[in-house]
Amino acid sequence: MRHKIGRWIIPAIGGLAFIYLLVPIAYIFIYSFNDAGRTNLEWRGFTWGNWLNPCGAPAVCQALGNSLQIGVVATVIATALGTCVALGLVRYKFRFRNVSDLLIILPLATPEVVLGAALLAQFLNLGWELGFTTIVISHVVFCMAFVIVTVRARVSALDPTLEEAAADLYANPRTTFWKVTFPLLLPGIIAAALLSFAMSFDDFIITNFNSGNYETFPKFIYVAATRGIPAQANVIGSAMFILALLVVVIGQVLSYRKRRAVEKAQ
């Protein structure tokens, strides 16, 4: 009898935890249909209006557009730089490797407040104007760390004999990289890029320190939180969740089908 209870504890807690995880999401989703004014605090009535007109509230779409732009630029830079670093660290031995290792993991270990403050101090010191560029730079700094960690795991797991086989089959190092190494790393690089984009888009603290008057989506919501977040923001938040859901689901379905094809053939 005791065993039976024991068996159910884990699924019970786990299940409840998952529900707990999704409660705010559900709330956001439901209230995106609220026929509310500027403050979305009380339920007034169901409406499709917000979804049909997501840019209805002023400044929401502007902030969204800014965040998307920053996200794309920061992601591209962070992914490119980070992939190079990951490749260099795993594949090559050079003198400053251990120092580089340390330098790379430190941004991950630094609280966002400190990172934001440090970057602000630096920008102030350089006399740079706070805006798009400073935000992008700040985002690249912490996104790159995530990219490096993700891609590095993938590079380490890459079978070195595959590249040897390519060389054995007359591919010079450059061809080997683009025809064999890169395609095999691509899933990891894409995952790192998606992660990087998500982190950049949702970042508040570091952005807040280094953006001056430049509006981003998280900043907009934070400021609006005191006054009242417009329902359109809920729409965008829900849309992001659904989009992320779709991306992950598609990824799962693809890998599931690949596995089935392998199993069937053997």
Binding site: H3, I105, V114, A118, A121, F204, Y222, A225
Partner: protein, 310 residues
């Protein structure tokens, strides 16, 4: 480089051919070129800023200067000033972060276990839960925190039910309390705890659990003696990835707290930077925060062994 060395069979042989040495050097250089742009970027926009922050923490405001005007100096007393004023907030931040980490562990471990071990053979359900675990991460966390604020609001369903059940005094509230702040921290950093543990448990060989049972261990003992130790690296990574950002967070405290007994150090730093315009003080606080976290982390790593986070 080519020092003669005695081989096993007593013959003199060169260490490496010239070609080998050249090839190795070339390889090393390629690695350096690959890594250099990123590293230079990190040096310029991470290492250097930290140093600037450090130096800024020592600036003084000359008497009679305008607000925001500082002079490079070496006033170490800034640290004393700022620490004596804000050590409660600093300690509170660590305390909140610690509780949040422990709670996240207690909630997150079963989640990870459920998906990685129990549902290993149920592809579809496992996939669904995994998706549900990761997806919230991609929606705005400020929105989610704000949602909690409204869910836990006095007029809301949760507060009302608790009052009806007499678990909450009639004039009590859930928001603007330390409880809400810690709950928010736990919630927001839960994925950071769950994912490393999940990644670790996903590789757990369930046959080990079977073997343990075969050797007369009860499920509880199996968990204690087999599963838990094997998942230690994941737990280790998860706790670090949760505690560090939680200690510096201030969104949860700002949205879900009050300004009496929930202020966290992040809020203080933010206000000293942007409201009081006390750059040296803010910089000093940031540095204190970073150092204390570093020290705590080092102690933690020393105590529980060196595991690679990567």
């Amino acid at each position: 480089m080519s020092t003669p060395v005695m081989t096993k069979r007593g013959k003199i042989a060169d260490l490496r051919s010239k070609e080998e040495i050249k090839a190795e050097r070339k390889k090393g250089r390629t690695g350096l070129y690959l890594v250099l742009p990123g590293i230079i970027g990190l040096l310029l926009f991470f290492a250097l800023p930290v140093l600037v922050l450090l130096s800024m923490s020592l600036y003084t405001r000359p008497p009679g200067a305008e607000i925001g005007e500082f002079v490079p100096s070496f006033q170490i007393s800034n640290y004393a000033t700022v620490l004596s004023a804000y050590w409660p907030e600093l300690l509170r931040s660590f305390w909140f972060a610690l509780i949040a980490t422990v709670l996240a562990l207690l909630i997150g471990y079963p989640m990870a276990y459920l998906v990685a071990v129990r549902l290993r053979n149920h592809g579809l359900l496992k996939g669904i839960l995994l998706v549900l675990l990761i997806a919230p991460f991609f929606s705005s966390f400020i929105l989610r925190t704000q949602a909690w604020k409204q869910i836990l609001a006095d007029e809301g369903f949760v507060a009302q039910s608790l009052k009806a059940l007499a678990l909450l005094p009639p004039d009590g509230h859930l928001t603007a309390t330390p409880f809400a702040v810690v709950a928010g921290l736990t919630y927001n950093f839960l994925p950071f705890m769950v994912l490393p543990i999940y990644a670790n448990l996903d590789r757990l060989d369930t046959r080990l659990l079977e073997a343990s049972g075969d050797l007369y261990a009860s499920p509880a003992t199996t968990f204690r003696k087999v599963t838990l130790p094997l998942s230690a690296p994941g737990v280790f990574a998860g706790t670090l990835l949760t505690f560090i950002p939680a200690a510096g967070d201030y969104i949860n405290a700002a949205l879900l707290g009050n300004n009496r007994n929930t202020t966290m150090i992040g809020q203080v730093i933010d206000s000293r930077f942007f409201r009081v315009i006390d750059y040296p003080g803010a910089a000093a606080l940031s540095f204190v925060l970073m150092l204390s976290i570093l020290i705590l982390v080092i102690i933690y790593i020393r105590r529980f062994g060196t595991k690679e986070l990567m």
